[in-house]
Point group: C2
Chain length 228, copies 2
């Protein structure tokens, strides 16, 4: 029997209409839907995919639970285990499509599972999705970068101070826990910031002035700092 193929799709940041035509086709065609987490209804990516394709619930749902830890060894073991779950389906000749919030190539954990699956000789394909930072700029009817500006996407683990010295547009990803510090540095540097929580979701919030940004932000927050 021919082995199945693994697909990873980015479902975009929230609005189900931001799925690509290819992502929707794969959701329809693949018999198994891989969902990071332990409960489909708690998975933001699954709920977005369901918004675009309600029949998804009739498919075989494969829950890919990976540990919440910073310990690299435990994480790697978790991704290995998730890959084995996927491989079990592939060996039965079933194609598997794993849903990922936003884009598959930008800070996605999907890629670690996929690497393990590919290393064992299975066919894999990554399908890009709309990134949160493009969606936020589009929502604001503004460009993210213009003409000769550089774009810097910065994970929360970086020194905010240093990052804000970079020339061009800065996007701070998942900086929720550092929001008071982020606000302080933005003010000190007299920069212009926009913060968005839960882009494209029902509880979406936009703050267009530093003073309006709350000190405690949700996990799905994104701050864009543009040069004046």
């Amino acid at each position: 029997m021919a082995k199945g193929k693994l697909y990873g799709i980015g479902v975009g940041p929230g609005d189900p209409e931001l799925l690509t035509l290819k992502a929707l086709r794969l959701l329809k065609e693949c018999p198994v839907i891989g969902i990071p987490g332990k409960n489909p209804s708690e998975s933001v990516a699954f709920n977005i995919a369901k918004g675009a394709y309600p029949e998804i619930e009739r498919k075989q749902l494969l829950l890919l639970e990976t540990p919440m830890t910073k310990d690299r060894d435990i994480l790697d073991e978790g991704y290995e285990k998730a890959a084995d779950q996927i491989i079990e389906c592939l060996d039965q000749g079933k194609d598997v499509v794993v849903v990922t919030l936003g884009d598959t190539t930008v800070y996605s954990t999907y890629i670690y599972m996929q690497r393990n699956v590919a290393a064992k000789g299975y066919e894999v394909e990554t399908v890009p999705g709309i990134t949160s930072f493009c969606a936020v700029s589009a929502y604001l009817n503004d460009s993210l970068v213009d003409r000769d500006e550089m774009l810097h996407v910065i994970p929360a683990s970086y020194q905010i101070d240093d990052a804000l010295e970079l020339s061009g547009t800065k996007v701070l990803m998942k900086a929720a826990s550092k929001m008071p510090e982020v606000k302080k540095v933005i003010k000190e540097k007299n920069q212009k910031a926009i913060m968005m929580e839960n882009c494209g979701m029902e509880n979406q919030m936009v703050y267009t002035s530093v003073d309006d940004i709350p000190d405690s932000a949700s996990y799905y927050s994104l701050t864009i700092i543009k040069e004046r």
Copy 2:
């Protein structure tokens, strides 16, 4: 009569299946398709949209020709003229959707036309698209950025030397004319580079070693430099 509304959609970098569901819906619903350039068949964005929706040719095609120059005043005048063409349709109660290669918020000239239209009180909406750098990484089944890496997107006008000093993944956009210099600096710094021309198009080419990258690259080229 109610005024029409202006939409800008990103059609992604080449594969028509990377249009979003929303982009396709707007192409179907809007009576007027705005196309940057002077000839629909020469517009890459139009051809991608046509791949997803062949009936597009039966729509009213509005050619938005803007001057090829670096003179800001002449450019601004061109965008103003394009906005006036769009407004003429909006005043007739027709919705207009302008097609843009890649994403609407990343180095897109669409946004300048939209600003002029919005400034005159018309309703506008920007719809994001798949960026070329996400599509290239996905095509390579690799992540663009992992864990705590920063992402830097750098237009060709920058000093390549300085840009390659930044920590994390670097994306050089439209650096075709500087390719010999780019290759030299990458080799000097012993960095790992991947270059892709015409992502998702029929004449797509991928170079995974610096030595393979040709000195003269096409305009639609993208170089990704990852930390080893």
